[in-house]
Subunit: 450 residues, 2 copies
C-alpha cells in the first residue's frame, strides 16, 4: 500500500487532449484558419449566396431518411428524454429539411451557403476527422433548374480557390447520365452499382486491374473494351465532347448527358472560367447516390495525392422525404478542416501572426489614465490595440510583446506623458522613435496597408 | 381499410421543424444575426483578444469535473464505442482544458475570445434555449492577475454594447469577498449558501420577503438588519465604497473585497468607461461557485425585465482538475442567441436586408458572355453581385429581384450590349438609367457608403 501511494500522483488529473479525430488549434493557427474561412465566405457572398445556419442536432429520423449502411454506423447518436437525436453528418440533409420547413418563406431560386461543423464517427486516421467544417453552396429551384446554375456553382468554386491562392487547381467535370447511358447501351444496367464502384477506383488502381475487376463481375470482354475505349479517350475538353457526340450511340440518357455536359462547359467558359482550369473526366462518379447529372471534383495539380478538395453536383429529389414539391438543386462543398490541415502540414500555408493585435501598449507608469486615452484613440481609428496590464518587470513586459510578435509596441512612461510623445517601436525593424499620437496612428495604418 | 387509405397521405412525410429549444433563422434574420456576431468579435479583437475554438464534444469526465446537480441533468450525453462523451454546456470548462493542454505553447497573460455554440437540455421555455451561442472573453495568468485585468474585461463589455447600439445599459459590479466577509463578520458563514441563495433573489422578490426567507433560516433579526442595512445602502458608485470603508468592520475578507472593488472601479474610470455606465450592486452574486472576487452583470436600462445580458467575474482555480499550476482568470460572457431573439422580438433590432447582394444582374439575352464579363468587373470591385440564371419570364425575373430587395438591379439585353451601356435600376427610388460599367460601379459604391 505504501508503495502504491508513492508511485501514484498525489492528485489524479483529468486527461486534457482534445478527443482523437477532433481538431484543436493554437491561436496563431486559429487566426490563419479564421482568415481562410473568411475568404471562402467572402467568395460565396460575392456571388450573392445567402447565409443559413441550422442546429447541429437533428431528429434521428431526419438524418436516417436518406442514408444507410456505413454512414448510419458513423452517426453520433444522442439520447435525451424520449427523443432519438443525432449530430448531423453533412449539411445537405439539414438543407433539405430547412427548405421544406421554410418553403413558403424562401425566394426561389434559393441560393444559400452554409459553413458549419459536421460529425462522423469514423476510425480516426490521417486526413479523416470526426468533427470538421464543411463549406457548402447550393442553388435550389422548383420544377426546373437551368444548367447555367451548374456552371455558376462551378465558377464560384473556381473563384474561391483563385482567392485562396493555394496553387494551380483544376475542376474535373462529368455528367452521370453519360455513364448511365453507356451502361444502358451495353445492356449493363443490372450491374450498374458494381461497375460504378470499380470505375470509381480509377487512379487508385491500374487500368489492367480495372479490367480484371470488371471481368470478375462476369462482364464480356467486348463490352469492357467498348466502355473503356470511350471513358479513356484523351483530348481537350471540347474534343472529348465532340468524340462523345460522334459515337453513334442513340441511347437517350447518354445523349442527354452529353448535351447537358456540353452546355455546362460552354456556360462555364462564358461565365469567365479560363479553359485550363477545367476538364472533362468521364470517370468522376461521386459516391453519393443522390446525384443525377453534373458531378465534379477539384484537384490541386501540385498535390494530386491530396484527392478532391471540393466536389458536388446536381440532384433532383432534394425534399422528397419531407415535402410534396419538386425541388431540385446543384451544389458544391469544400471540406475545409481537412484541406486546412493538409495545406498547413505541407507548408503551403503558414501562420503569419501570433496575434491579431496591431499594437501592444506597455505602460511604464502607474498613470493609467493616459494609457486608457491612447488606447481609445487607436481603437477609434480601428487599430487593434492591446494593453499589457500586469504588474511585471520591464523585462517580462517586453518579453510578452516579443513573443506575441505584434508589429508595433508603444512604450508609455511618465516622460512620454509630459512630452505628449510616445515611444513607438517597430518590432520588425527594431526602429524606435518618439511620436505624437497622430503620427503613431499613421505609421500603424501605413504598415497595415503594406 | 379503403377509408384509411383515403385519409392518410400517400406518402408519410418526416417532420421538418427544428427541434424545440433550437433556433433556426430565415436568411434575412441570419444576415442580421451574423452582423451582430461580427460586431461582437470585432470589439473583442479590437482589445487584442485571440481567437480559439474547441471541439463541441468533450469527454464526460472533463465536463462533469466541476459540475453536479442540475447542470449534470442538462448535459447532452453521447455514447460512441467505449467513450463516454457529451456536448459542452459552456465555454469555460473547454477553456480550462485548453489552457491546461497547451500550457507550454501559450503566452501569458493569455487573452482569448471564443464564440461558439453550447448545449443545455433544459425544459424549453420562453428565453431558454437548448442550443445557443456564447461569446466569451477571458484573461488567464499564472500566479497573479492584476485587478486592472478585471477592469479591462468590464471596459471591453462596455465597448461591445456601445458598438451594438441596443440602447442604454449599465454594468452592475460587486466583489464576492464583501459578502463573504460580511457573513463571516456576523458569524453566518455556516449558512453562507442559504443566505446567498436568498440574496440572489433580490429584485424578483420584495424586501419584506427577503427578510422573511432569512428569518426562516433561523437567522437573528439583528443580524438580518445589520446585513441588509449595508447591502441596501444607496448612493453613487464611490459613495457606496466610502460607506463600506466607514463601517468599522475589521474582517479581513471584507476589507480585501472593498479594496479590490475600489481598485476595479477606479481602473474602469481610468480606462475610459463613463461613470454613469457602471454602478456598485452589492446583491450581485452570480450562481456559479467558481467566482472568488469581482462579479458583474449587465442590464439594458429600458429593458430591465430582460435580465442580465452579460455577466462574469474572477476565478482563482481554473485548471485545478487538470494541471499542477496556479492559473487564475477573469472573464465575461454574452449569451448571444437569447439576446438576439429578445431584441428582435421587442423590435429593438430589425433585419434590414433580405440579401447581402448589392446588385442582381437580370439577363434579357441569351448572350451570357457579356453577363459574365459585367459580373466579373463588379466582383473585382468587391461588389457582391448575383446573376439571375433561370430561364424565366421577364415578370418572374423582376419579381425575384423585388422580393430579394437588393439595392440595385442591372437589366442586360442585346441593346445594352451593343450600346455598351447597361440599365441600372435603383430599387429604392425606382430610378432607372443607362450607364457605362464604370459609372455603375461608382453608383453602387456610393450607395453602399451612405
Amino acid at each position: 500500500m505504501f508503495f502504491r501511494k508513492k508511485t501514484l500522483p498525489l492528485t489524479t488529473k483529468i486527461q486534457t487532449q482534445a478527443l482523437p479525430g477532433f481538431i484543436e488549434l493554437l491561436p496563431s493557427d486559429q487566426i490563419l484558419f479564421n482568415d481562410f474561412k473568411a475568404k471562402i465566405i467572402e467568395a460565396y457572398e460575392s456571388f450573392g449566396f445567402l447565409p443559413i445556419e441550422t442546429p447541429l442536432i437533428e431528429r434521428e429520423e431526419v438524418l436516417l431518411a436518406k442514408v444507410g449502411g456505413e454512414t448510419e454506423k458513423e452517426i453520433y447518436k444522442i439520447k435525451k428524454g424520449d427523443n432519438n437525436l443525432a449530430l448531423r453528418f453533412d449539411l445537405t440533409v439539414p438543407l433539405a429539411r430547412y427548405v421544406s420547413e421554410h418553403y413558403h418563406d424562401l425566394v426561389f431560386p434559393f441560393k444559400r451557403y452554409h459553413v458549419g461543423k459536421v460529425y462522423r464517427g469514423e476510425r480516426p486516421q490521417k486526413g479523416r476527422y470526426r468533427e470538421f467544417y464543411q463549406c457548402d453552396v447550393d442553388i435550389i429551384n422548383e420544377n426546373e433548374l437551368s444548367l447555367q446554375s451548374d456552371a455558376e456553382v462551378l465558377s464560384l468554386i473556381y473563384e474561391t480557390f483563385s482567392k485562396l491562392k493555394i496553387g494551380p487547381f483544376r475542376l474535373e467535370i462529368n455528367n452521370r447520365k453519360i455513364l448511365f447511358g453507356l451502361l444502358e447501351n451495353l445492356d449493363l444496367s443490372k450491374k450498374e452499382k458494381e461497375v460504378l464502384r470499380i470505375l470509381d477506383k480509377k487512379g487508385k488502381i491500374s487500368d489492367q486491374e480495372t479490367v480484371e475487376l470488371l471481368e470478375k463481375e462476369k462482364i464480356d470482354t467486348g463490352k469492357i473494351e467498348a466502355l473503356l475505349k470511350i471513358l479513356n479517350f484523351e483530348g481537350s475538353t471540347f474534343e472529348i465532347v465532340e468524340f462523345l457526340k460522334n459515337q453513334n450511340i442513340s441511347n437517350e440518357t447518354f445523349l442527354t448527358g452529353v448535351t447537358e455536359l456540353e452546355e455546362v462547359l460552354i456556360s462555364l467558359e462564358v461565365l469567365g472560367v479560363p479553359t485550363h482550369f477545367f476538364k472533362v473526366n468521364l470517370f468522376i462518379i461521386r459516391g453519393l447516390d443522390y446525384y443525377t447529372g453534373t458531378v465534379f471534383e477539384t484537384f490541386l495539380l501540385d498535390n494530386l495525392d491530396l484527392g478532391s478538395i471540393s466536389s458536388g453536383g446536381r440532384y433532383e429529389k432534394l425534399t422528397e422525404n419531407y415535402l410534396d414539391k419538386k425541388l431540385m438543386g446543384v451544389g458544391a462543398s469544400i471540406g475545409l478542416s481537412r484541406l486546412f490541415i493538409e495545406l498547413k502540414t505541407r507548408g503551403l500555408i503558414k501562420s503569419l501572426k501570433k496575434t491579431t493585435s496591431q499594437v501592444i501598449i506597455i505602460p511604464l507608469t502607474e498613470n493609467l489614465i493616459e494609457v486608457g486615452k491612447v488606447a481609445k484613440i487607436l481603437r477609434e481609428q480601428e487599430i487593434k490595440t492591446e494593453i499589457y496590464l500586469e504588474k511585471s518587470s520591464m523585462k517580462k513586459k517586453l518579453n510578452y510583446a516579443n513573443k506575441q510578435e505584434a508589429p508595433f509596441v508603444i512604450l508609455l512612461g511618465d516622460e512620454e506623458i509630459s512630452e505628449k510623445k510616445f515611444t513607438l517601436k517597430n518590432m520588425n525593424s527594431g526602429e524606435q522613435e518618439k511620436l505624437p499620437i497622430e503620427e503613431i496612428v499613421e505609421k500603424i495604418k501605413i504598415n497595415d496597408a503594406l
